[in-house]
Amino acid sequence: MTIDLANQIVTGLLTGLVYSLMALGLSVIFGVVRVVNFAHGEMTALAMYAAWALFTWAELDPLLGLPLIALLLFVLGYVMQRGLIDAFVAKPEHMQFILLVAVAIIMVNGSLLVFGPDAHGIQVPYGFDTYEVGPLLVDKVRLLAATAALCISGLLMLFFRRTMTGKAIRACADNLVGARVIGLNVKRLYAVTFGIGAACVGAAGALLSMLIDVMPSSGPELTMLAFIIVIVGGLGSMGGALLGGILIGVSEVLAGYFLMPSMKGMFSFAILILILILRPQGLMGARK
C-alpha cells in the first residue's frame, strides 16, 4: 500500500514537471506581454504532432527532435505575436480571448485536416523500461522527460537573469514606460517573449509526446491544465509554474488514489477556485 502510494507520488511528481514546462510558457507570456494565451494547449498539441511527425518520418527520438521543435514553435510564437496578437495587447481581455479562441479553432481543425482524427502516439524503444530504485519502480521515459524539463526551465531562468535580451524583457515586464523611455524595442521584445513561451511549449510538447497521445481535441484539455498550474503557482512567476506543476501532479495522484479517479479533475478545479479566492497572486506570485 505505502509502496504503491510512493510509486504513484513519484510518477505524479515526474509528470508534473513536464506539465510545468508547458505551463511555464504560459506564465512567461502572461508575465511580460500580459496576454493570456488561450490557445496554449492547442500549441502544445501542434508541438506533439511535430514530434510525432519527426519520429514517424525521420525516426528522430523526441528527445533529439526537441531543439528543432522548440525552434519551430519559437518562430510560430514570434510570428503570431508580431502579426496578430500585438494589435490586441492593449485591448480588453475578452477581445484577446476571442482572438485566441479563433486561433485555437484554426489550429484544432487544421490538425484534423492534416493528421486526421486518430490519436497519434510515439513508442520509443525504451518506452516500457523502468528503473528499480530500492522498492520503487521509476518509469524511464518519465524520468528522462522530467529531467529534460527541469534542465530547460533552469536554462530559461539563466537566460532571464544573465543575458541582455533576458534582462531587457524583464525590464518590459517590470516597467513598460521605463522600458520605452530607455529606448527598448518593446514590440520586438514582446515577440521574442511570445516566441520563448512558445518554445517552452514546443519542448514540453516533444516530451509529452512520449507520455500521452495527441489528437486534434487534446488542445483544450491541455490549456485548462496549464491554467490551473500557472494560477496555483502564480501567473507570471517562473518558479511558481514549476511548483504548481509538481503540486497538481501530486495532488491529482492523491485525489485519484484516495477518492474516485474520475473526480481528480474536480479536485484540481477546487484547488484553482480556492487559490483564486484566497491567494489570487498564486503561491509564489507577488501581491500587486
Binding site: 496578430l84 484544432v108 474516485m260 478545479f269 483564486l276
Partner: protein, 331 residues
C-alpha cells in the same frame, strides 16, 4: 417613433412571419440563432453592462436545464413551474460565484478564470450525480410532438420557435428598460470605473452581484428551453467549455454592451457556419474540419477588423448613431 424602434418592429415582424416562408430546416437554424441571441443577451447584462467577464456562463445554462428537467422527470413538475426553480438555482449559483469573486477582489482575467473553474467543477460534479444520469445523460420523455402544450413545454417545433422568439424579444425589451434604469446606469458606472462609481455613492459589490444574479437567472431560462427542446442533457454538453465560448461569441461579434449586438451577432454567426458548410460542399471540399477552419478564420477577421463589433459599425453606416433622440440614447 425613433428609427431604432422602426428597425426593431420590422425585425420582429420578419421573424414572426418567417415560418410562412421558411421550411423546417431554416426554422431549425432560426431556433439556434434565437437561442444564441437570447443567452448572448443574458450574458451581455453581466459583461456588456456591468463589465464582469464570465467565461463559464454555460454553468447557468446547465443548472437551469438540469433543474427543470430533473423536476419534470422525477417529480412530474411542469416546465412552467420548474423554470422558477431553475432561475432560483442559477441565480443562487451566480450569487455564490459573484460574492466569492467580488468579496475577495478577484478581478479581470482572474475572475474570468474563476468562472471557468466553477463551470468545469460543476461539470465533473454532475458526472457523479447518479440521480441526474451522470455522464449517461438525463432523458426527458419526448411525448406528443404535434400539439401545443406550453405548460409542459411539449409540442410542435413551431411552438418552440415562437417561444424562443418571444423569449428573445422579451429579454431585448427588458434590457432596453434596464439600460435606461437606475440599475442600468449603476452598472455602466461600475463597468467604466469602480472607484469613481463608489465615490458617487454606488455600492459596487451589490451592483455587480445584481448583474451576475440577474444574468444567471435569465441564462437559466435559456437552459430550460435547451432541455425541453432537445430532451436530453449530458454534463459535457450542458457545462462544457466550448458551450461557454459559443454563448459569448454572438454578443462580442455583434457589439458588446449594445442591445442589437447579441441578435446581430447570432444572426451573423449561425448562418455563417451554415453558409460555410454549403460553400465548402459546393466547392467539393469534403474533408471534415474545413468548415470550422473557415469559421475560425472568419472569426479572426471579424475581431481583427471590427474590434468593437458589427453593430456599432453598422449603426454608424445606417445613420442610427446614439444621441438622435432626446436623451433616449440607445446602446
Amino acid at each position: 417613433m425613433s428609427r431604432q424602434a422602426i428597425l426593431l418592429g420590422l425585425l420582429l415582424a420578419a421573424f414572426a412571419l418567417a415560418p410562412l416562408v421558411a421550411g423546417p430546416y431554416l426554422l431549425s437554424v432560426l431556433v439556434v440563432v434565437m437561442y444564441f441571441a437570447y443567452v448572448g443577451q443574458a450574458w451581455n447584462i453581466m459583461m456588456g453592462f456591468a463589465g464582469q467577464l464570465s467565461l463559464g456562463h454555460t454553468l447557468y445554462v446547465g443548472l437551469g436545464a438540469y433543474t427543470a428537467a430533473a423536476l419534470f422527470v422525477h417529480l412530474g413538475v411542469p416546465a412552467v413551474f420548474g423554470l422558477f426553480a431553475s432561475v432560483a438555482v442559477a441565480a443562487l449559483a451566480g450569487g455564490v460565484v459573484g460574492s466569492l469573486g467580488f468579496r475577495f477582489g478577484v478581478k479581470g482575467v482572474y475572475f474570468a478564470l474563476l468562472t471557468i473553474a466553477f463551470a468545469e467543477f460543476t461539470r465533473i460534479l454532475f458526472e457523479h450525480i447518479p440521480g441526474l444520469g451522470g455522464p449517461g445523460g438525463l432523458f426527458l420523455p419526448v411525448g406528443d410532438r404535434s400539439g401545443i402544450d406550453l405548460v409542459h413545454l411539449r409540442g410542435h417545433p413551431l411552438m418552440f420557435y415562437y417561444l424562443i422568439l418571444a423569449m428573445t424579444a422579451g429579454i431585448f425589451l427588458l434590457c432596453r428598460r434596464l439600460v435606461r434604469s437606475r440599475l442600468g446606469y449603476t452598472w455602466l458606472a461600475v463597468r467604466e470605473d469602480q472607484e469613481a462609481a463608489a465615490a458617487l455613492g454606488i455600492n459596487v459589490f451589490r451592483a455587480k452581484l445584481a448583474a451576475v444574479m440577474l444574468s444567471a437567472g435569465l441564462t437559466a431560462l435559456g437552459g430550460v428551453f435547451f432541455a425541453f427542446y432537445y430532451n436530453n442533457l449530458f454534463p459535457n454538453q450542458a457545462f462544457g467549455m466550448n458551450r461557454s465560448i459559443e454563448i459569448i461569441l454572438a454578443p462580442i461579434v455583434g457589439g458588446l454592451g449594445t442591445l442589437f449586438g447579441p441578435i446581430l451577432g447570432a444572426l451573423i454567426l449561425t448562418p455563417l457556419g451554415e453558409g460555410i458548410t454549403m460553400a465548402t460542399e459546393a466547392m467539393g471540399f469534403k474533408a471534415a474540419g474545413i468548415k470550422q477552419l473557415c469559421y475560425g478564420l472568419a472569426l479572426l477577421a471579424i475581431v481583427k477588423f471590427l474590434p468593437d463589433g458589427v453593430w456599432p459599425w453598422a449603426r454608424a453606416r445606417l445613420g442610427l448613431e446614439p444621441g438622435d433622440g432626446d436623451g433616449e440614447d440607445d446602446r
